[in-house]
Every structure is written in C-alpha cells, then in structure tokens.
C-alpha cells in the first residue's frame, strides 16, 4: 500500500541504499565529474531520513516535500536543486491518502518535469533525465496495461535501469561531464545511476 507509511519507509530505504552506493556514485563522478555525487547524495539522504522519522506528515506529499526541502538545503551541487525540485513537484501531485497506479505515474512525471524545468536537459544529453524519462514513460504504459501501483513502480525501475545504462556511450552535453567532450563517452552518468538507486528503494519499500 503506497501510503504515508510507505513514503517514510522509502526515505529510510533510500538513505540506506544511497549510503551503500556512495562509493560507487562517487567513483562514477570521479571519472567524468568531480567525485562528489555519492557524498552529496549521502549527506542529503541521511539528513532527509533523520528529518522524516518523527516529522508530522499525513500524506505521501507531505513526506516528499520534507525530503525536497532537506535535499535543497543539504546536497548542493547540481544534484541538490535538481532532486529538490523533482521531489517538490512530486509532492504536489501526491496528496491522496494512498497512491494508485495513476498517482505513481503522476509522481514520476512531475519529478521528471521538475528536473527538466531546472536543468533544461533533454533525453540523450547524458544526465539523470535519461533515467527519469523512460521511467515515467514505462510507468504510464504499465498503468495503461492494467498494472497495479507496485507494478507501475516495477516497470519504472526497469526502464530507469535501461535508461541509465543507455548513458554509457553518450557524449555529455549538459553538466560537468560536458567539459570532457568525447572523453565523457564510455562512462555511466552518476545522476542517472542515483535515480535508479532511489527508484529501487521506492519499490523495496512498497514490497516491505
């Protein structure tokens, strides 16, 4: 049941998953960026998890808003405002007591819109947009095909994983990796990878 309890569990699971992925994300960022993505995300999600534990929240949206504000004030870098805006927009469309398939699609679409509104990247520029875009699209397809909320999340995660993998051959044209020109090719985008980690945590929380 994707309710406020799920949202809280998601944040805790995300904090654990990001901590586990910290070195991996940092190493990816070391290759084509500035070696801080794992630390930025970890700092943000530890803070978010600590906040969410006993903050009052009635809806999924309340939790996501808290996450948004915390990420905004603790992450910094490019990822801070991008994920902050994503969670803020997602919070606005998740005010129902329990999220159905439509709500999950709306959450993902709003998050994607938030990332694009702030970062102005399109698909194929080797950013987290390459994970969020197929995730939102696959979620909509799954919903249309009759999947339940958890099934929609599953489809989104699978598509995000593929989307992240698709960034490897790409030449970066947004973010810090773009400074590398052709040398950015052959590497997984760290933000696309952290998107996968967050969606996997959402699914894990839904199954818990």
């Amino acid at each position: 049941m994707l309710d406020v309890a799920w949202a809280r569990t998601w944040v805790q699971a995300a904090a654990v998953a990001v901590a586990d992925a910290k070195d991996e994300l940092t190493e990816l960022d070391r290759q084509i960026g500035d070696a801080d993505h794992g630390f930025n995300m970890d700092r943000g999600f530890q803070a978010a998890a600590a906040k969410v534990v006993d903050a009052p929240a009635e809806t999924v949206g309340d939790v996501l808003k808290l996450v948004a504000m915390t990420l905004m004030s603790t992450v910094g870098g490019a990822a801070g405002p991008l994920y902050g805006t994503a969670f803020l927009r997602a919070a606005k469309v998740t005010t129902a007591p329990e999220l159905g398939p439509d709500d999950v699609v709306a959450l993902l679409e709003a998050a994607l819109e938030g990332v694009v509104a702030r970062g102005k990247a399109a698909v194929g520029e080797k950013t987290m947009v390459d994970a969020w875009t197929p995730a939102a699209a696959a979620a909509a397809s799954a919903r249309d095909a009759g999947a339940d909320a958890v099934g929609v999340l599953e489809a989104a995660l699978r598509a995000a994983e593929e989307g992240a993998a698709s960034t490897v051959p790409l030449l970066a044209t947004k973010g810090r990796a773009s400074y590398l020109g052709e040398r950015s090719q052959g590497h997984l985008d760290p933000g696309a990878r952290s998107t996968v980690v967050l969606l996997a945590a959402a699914l894990e929380a839904a199954r818990a």
């Binding site: 940092t26 070391r30 084509i32 960026g33 500035d34 070696a35 801080d36 630390f39 930025n40 700092r43 905004m72 004030s73 603790t74 992450v75 910094g76 870098g77 490019a78 990822a79 801070g80 405002p81 991008l82 902050g84 702030r118 970062g119 030449l171 044209t173 947004k174 973010g175 810090r176 773009s178 400074y179 590398l180 020109g181 040398r183």
Partner: protein, 331 residues
C-alpha cells in the same frame, strides 16, 4: 592520502572557523547556514557583492571578503556548490539597501543553487542581479557543453565589481562593469598532479609520472587532453596562445596577466611561468600593464597552474588599482 585534517566531514567548517579567527578584524563567520560576511558594513545604499562556490579553492571566495571586493562569500562542501538557503542568507545579510550583485562561476550546480537563492532573497525584498564568470577557454563554448567554466578570472571580476560598488555605483552599473570584466577575461590551466578530495581519498584523475593534463578545471575534472611532460616554456605556450587567440589580442593592446597556482605549486615555479607568459605576450606586441602571481584560485593541493589574461582599458585598470583590503588581496 595525507592531509592536515580531522574528520573530513568537518573540514570545511573547521577551516572556515580558523579563517574567521585569523581574520576577525575583517570578516565574520556565520553558521547555520554557513557563510562569511564583512565585519565593517558599507554605507547604506551601497551595492553588496556576493560570491560563493564549492570549498577547496581557497583563498577564493572568502579570502576576498573585505573592503573593496566581496561583502559576503558562501562556501559549499569541497567542490560542491553551496545550497540555496546558505546563499540566500548571505544575500540578505550582505544587502546594504543597494541590492546584491551575485558573481557566479558558470557550473550547473552553482547556477542552479544561486538561482534558487535569488528567488529566496527576492521573497525577502532583496534584489539580486547575477553575473556569470565563464573564462575557461579549455571548454568549447557551444550548444554541446554547459558553457565555459569560471576559473581564475573570477578574481578579476570580483575585484572590479567590488571596486565599482565601493565607489558608489548602483546595481546596474556594478553589474555592467562585472559583465565587462567577465567578457574581457580568459584563462587556461594545466595539472601536473590531480587533487585528492578528502572524502574520496584518491586523486581525482590519474596521471602517469611523465604525463600532464592540459585544460583542467578547478574541481579535479579531467582536462581536455593529456600530453607528455614538457618544459615550462612549452607548457606556458599551450596556455597563453589559446587565451590570447580567444581574446583576439592585437598589437598594442594592454592586459593584466595573472599566473595562478593550483594549491600545490610553489611560487618559484609560478614566476618561471610568468616570465614565459610575459615573453609570449610581448612577442605579440601586447603590453602587460598589471600582474598578479600567486595561488588565488586553487584546487585543493593540485599541482599545476593557470594563466589568466584580462584586456584592460582605463576604467578597468582604475578599478583594479582601487584600494582593496581583504585577507588575501590588499593594496
């Protein structure tokens, strides 16, 4: 990795605390959220000049807080741009009723966080204008990049803007001069050895014992290409020529020449580079009217340097020469 640090997670806070103690006559360190602000407030109505960015580039930016340069500086985590609440709080604290000029190095993270901060400050009635520094000619300025990075030229833009604010120019005028300085300045850097981010514990990129990296940034980002180790004169040529070409420097022009150390390079080597850079400019018929040599925009303990050239006109020269009294720059 060996560094003079305690807990890496506390390194920025502790360093800024020490900085505040050492320069208590000039600056005040505020915490929660963290930023540095001038102790001596400028006269009411003066434009406040504020900058910031990831830590690890010291003395940039906090070292330039004081009379005639910055009114506040906002350090983020190492190589990570500060958050909007920090920047917004600095905008509000620095504002003296004349509005705020934000000088932002062109990185996605800095741009996005300062943008959000400007919205926060606006909500509190503080007007913020932003000028981007994007002087690094190593990055192609095209649709295919996030645009040129801000590197060494940031010192020039901050000095010019601060001098304009100190003489009483209004926000439009200060912003216009900062833009003019930004448009007149170009840089290019080289790394002999990459920096090690404290919480990472290994160098940001790997260079063989006989390789150097041309066109590096100041965040341990790898550069544009890697070449075998060369002499100082050869390396300097690889830095000066793209800078001078991009500026389109012509015979008879006057410039400021800034040779910047990356944190792990001693002054003796910077002066060898300065000598070579000056010769190359003079061969083009360009006169070096003002100079700055030292480690002002660092990348932790990276070994290497950058060369920055700013085209001068009388007004920019006058603003560069105007008095400045900060921990890192004073005359």
């Amino acid at each position: 990795m060996k560094k003079l640090l305690n807990d890496p997670a506390q390194a920025v806070d502790e360093s800024v605390e020490g900085f505040g103690l050492a320069h208590a006559d000039l600056v005040e360190v505020r915490t929660d959220p963290l930023f540095v602000v001038r102790r001596q407030r400028p006269p009411h109505g003066t434009v406040a000049v504020v900058s910031g960015g990831g830590a690890g580039h010291e003395p940039l930016h906090a070292g330039f807080v004081g009379e005639g340069m910055l009114d506040a500086a906002v350090p983020g985590a190492v190589f990570t741009s500060p958050t909007p609440d920090q920047v917004g709080a600095a905008f509000v604290a620095a504002d003296a009723g004349g509005g705020v000029l934000a000088i932002v190095k062109n990185y996605t993270g800095d741009v996005l966080n300062f943008e959000t901060a400007a919205e926060l400050a606006d909500a509190e009635g503080v007007t913020v204008r932003t000028v981007l520094v994007h002087d690094d000619v190593a990055v192609e300025d095209s649709l295919y990049t996030a645009g040129r990075r801000g590197v060494g030229g940031t010192v020039m833009v901050e000095k010019i803007a601060g001098a304009a604010a100190a003489r009483g120019d209004d926000l439009d005028a200060v912003a216009a001069l900062a833009e003019r300085a930004s448009a007149a300045v170009r840089s290019m850097g080289v790394a002999l050895h990459a920096p090690t981010v404290p919480h990472v514990g290994r160098p940001s990129f790997d260079l063989a014992d006989d390789e150097i990296e041309i066109g590096i940034g100041i965040h341990g980002e790898p550069g544009r290409h890697r070449i075998p180790m060369a002499s100082a004169d050869e390396i300097t040529k690889m830095l000066v020529e793209p800078v001078a070409d991009d500026l389109g420097l012509a015979n008879g022009e006057k410039v400021l020449l800034f040779v910047n150390g990356m944190g792990g390079t001693p002054p003796s080597e910077l002066y060898v580079v300065y000598r070579a850079a000056r010769r190359l400019l003079e061969e083009r018929g360009v006169t070096v009217e003002r100079s700055l040599v030292g480690s002002y925009v660092t990348s932790l303990e990276m070994q290497g340097c950058s060369v920055t050239v700013m085209r001068l006109d009388d007004e920019l020269t006058g603003l560069w020469d105007a008095p400045v009294h900060t921990p890192a720059l004073r005359w």
